[in-house]
């Protein structure tokens, strides 16, 4: 893995407020106030009357984006969101956690491996086991980073399954992992900004996929066919999901 794809090697660490000022200027054209400009300048991003050369480098992918990838990753103890602004020439990555951001740039060839790592694609033993459903409120809870609600929905799914196991085994690797806070929930969202390009077969400009992992296994969360208020939990593995990930990480011309 190239060093530049590792957030710890990022060249810029900013407070969240400073990054918001930067993004507001780059994306919406809102000129930051005097103090904010001073702070941006101290990070090398600003040089009156506008962005510095370094700032322009980071801003390029944001202003010339063809798509934007967002990976939300929640565990029992952490919330991390990584946004990747994807343009044909470069990609700017911003990792938000604990009120700070790390901002770094990568090449297009590094994107699939980075996204795979961020959503938790890694070798696992993989057991096909219950629980098979979780309340669909988990989508909204994940989107809004409501960690308390996410955890309670996962624990409730595990408890409900263990009280009435569908396959005869009460405690499974998944139910154990959910009850013991060993889970990782990842949501990958791809927003396409290129109006002349149809990346998704259904014509949508935004697609999200959700994965739930415990140390042994990985599962996909998807809407159930019976239109209940639940998501189906289905065992999967990176080999199965790779085709979709490569489609979502494709850099549009």
């Amino acid at each position: 893995m190239f060093e530049s794809t590792t957030p710890e090697d990022a060249r810029l660490k900013l407070r969240e407020r400073v990054y918001v000022d930067f993004e507001n200027f780059v994306v919406d054209g809102k000129t930051p106030g005097f103090l904010a400009r001073r702070t941006l300048r101290s990070h090398g991003l600003w040089e009156e009357p506008g962005l510095s050369a370094v700032g322009e480098q980071y801003a390029h992918a944001m202003t010339h984006r063809r798509s934007r990838l967002i990976v939300r990753q929640l565990t029992a103890t952490s919330i991390v969101a990584t946004v990747m602004w994807v343009s044909p020439e470069s990609i700017t990555c911003v990792r938000h956690s604990d009120g700070h951001c790390l901002m770094w740039r990568i090449d297009a060839c590094e994107l699939p491996a980075l996204v795979a790592r961020l959503v938790g694609f890694e070798p696992r033993v993989t057991y096909d086991c219950g629980p098979r459903r979780v309340k669909s409120e988990i989508v909204e809870a994940t989107t809004s980073f409501n960690l308390g609600l996410v955890e309670s929905l996962l624990v409730r799914a595990a408890q409900a399954y263990e009280e009435a196991p569908e396959e005869g085994i009460a405690e499974t690797p998944l139910s154990y992992g959910l009850r013991n806070r060993l889970w990782t929930l990842s949501m990958l969202t791809c927003e396409v900004d290129a109006p002349d390009t149809q990346l998704f077969e259904n014509g949508d400009s935004t697609v999200s996929v959700m994965y739930l992992a415990v140390p042994e296994s990985m599962f996909r969360l998807s809407p159930s066919d019976d239109s209940t208020s639940s998501l189906e939990i289905t065992m999967t593995r990176p080999l199965v999901e790779w085709e979709q990930l490569t489609a979502l990480t494709k850099v549009l011309p």
Binding site: C109, E110, L111, A116, P238
Partner: protein, 178 residues
């Protein structure tokens, strides 16, 4: 799906039906490849989908090795390490076992690497069949394409692995279908 009139590429140790548009490299070229790229394994088949305007062409490389039964575990670890070390920027995304009907036990490794500023996806399948002389026939099939073209070629790549046959023993006569 495999058509009945589909041509089959045959080496000493593999028979692989050619997906539409794919071509097999002549056997006489493979000896040079073996000398250039490997020390112990023999390149048995090289299939290519030669469409891609000079960019990295989707390909399938099948190699064969005979490994002592007792050394198989060490060989497997060495093979994985060598694979990771061989390619720049390698990221192992998945590894495990895949059960296909009619195939000997096998494992796969899915990884990406960087080549000429492009991301390449490789799925490596390893099959091993015990022999009666204390050795194991080990067949390795590497399927590769550009990562951003994976969706276009995944069906052909998995058709190759589904219908490929590893032949038993060493004494096979190659049948040229070209």
């Amino acid at each position: 799906m495999m058509d009945e009139d589909q041509s089959i590429a045959s080496g000493g140790h593999f028979e692989i039906p050619l997906p539409p548009g794919w071509q097999a490299t002549p056997q006489e070229s493979l000896a040079d490849l073996t000398k250039e790229f490997t020390t112990t394994a023999a390149v048995d088949l090289l299939l290519v989908f030669p469409h891609t305007n000079g960019t990295f062409a989707p390909n399938c490389v099948a190699t064969y090795e005979k490994v002592s039964q007792g050394d198989l575990q060490v060989w497997a670890e060495h093979n994985l390490r060598a694979t990771i070390d061989l390619y720049p920027g390698t990221e192992v995304v998945d590894l495990g076992e895949l059960y296909l009907s009619g195939k000997p036990s096998n494992s796969y490794t899915l990884f990406t690497y960087i080549l000429n500023d492009r991301s390449v996806t490789c799925v490596q399948f390893v099959w091993h069949t015990p022999r009666n002389d204390g050795y194991v026939d080990v067949g390795i099939v590497n399927l590769q394409c550009l990562t951003d073209e994976y969706r276009d070629h995944s069906q052909a790549l998995f058709d190759i692995i589904e219908f490929a046959q590893m032949l038993e023993g060493e004494d096979h006569v190659r049948v040229d279908n070209s």
